[in-house]
Subunit: 169 residues, 2 copies
Amino acid sequence: MTTAIIARPLTRDSFAAFGDVIDTDCDTHYPINAGKCERYHDLAKVEVAGPNCRVLISIFCGTPYAFPLQLSMVERHPFGSQAFMPLSPRPFLVVVCPDEPDGPGVPQAFVTAPGQGVNYHCNVWHGVLTPIGEPQNFVVVDRGGDGSNLEEFYFSHPYEIQLPEGFAA
Amino acid sequence: MTTAIIARPLTRDSFAAFGDVIDTDCDTHYPINAGKCERYHDLAKVEVAGPNCRVLISIFCGTPYAFPLQLSMVERHPFGSQAFMPLSPRPFLVVVCPDEPDGPGVPQAFVTAPGQGVNYHCNVWHGVLTPIGEPQNFVVVDRGGDGSNLEEFYFSHPYEIQLPEGFAA
């Protein structure tokens, strides 16, 4: 049997247990460069640990997934956070799970607003990068170094992730 | 007297002495997520130093500058690198200077291609964020922590930075 989950809009409050929302809808901003630029400051907790760790900047070019999405796997990174900022103003799907004694719990699904990115905190279960409708590029800030920084979990039954009603995929 | 400098296209080779070009025009990429995503890996050297240092992710919302640009000041960050990745596919101006015994040398000016970002290496003289023609948002990866991480230098005579011929500002 497949459990259906309807994605909801991404907000700081709903995502706080899993990571950071990276957008300009926050109070921590101030002008720089003689007022020509507004800095929305320190929006994500960047975490790196483990042997020879360092922070990486990469670009991910993702292809879209069909919806409803059959979610059979989530992953996590024990040695570091992972931030995704879209380079085009389109929504994408964000899936996270609480960590429970037997592995990831029931997934929570979010759809970003245009211009929103996310940062998964270290060791938080999450779905793979999931563009909606079109290919999408992202700048990614995550961890390099030695050691195994990827853990995958396959659900015994996939979840079905649905977009909100009226959402054009 | 004002010295005129014409900006040229940004390339890895021409920028190598100052920092990293962040784009997908590189060989260091490989598929992940069962082939659904291409990772352009480790495109910038992220540097943080000094007391209580850490890596920050911020968003900068920049307003455009008029051209030809009167460049009267450059700055540098002794404790960290600073990466700028545009969140819209528009060019922006990149100005850097070699470090010479009396301060920054003659500026070099570049215009990015759509989708290119830059990472200024630690302590490299550079101009402030300079969108062209329209406001532009950037994700910025730089350094937080204690200590003074900003040094500014004012030229005795401003330089005039011009866009390449035929470039629509």
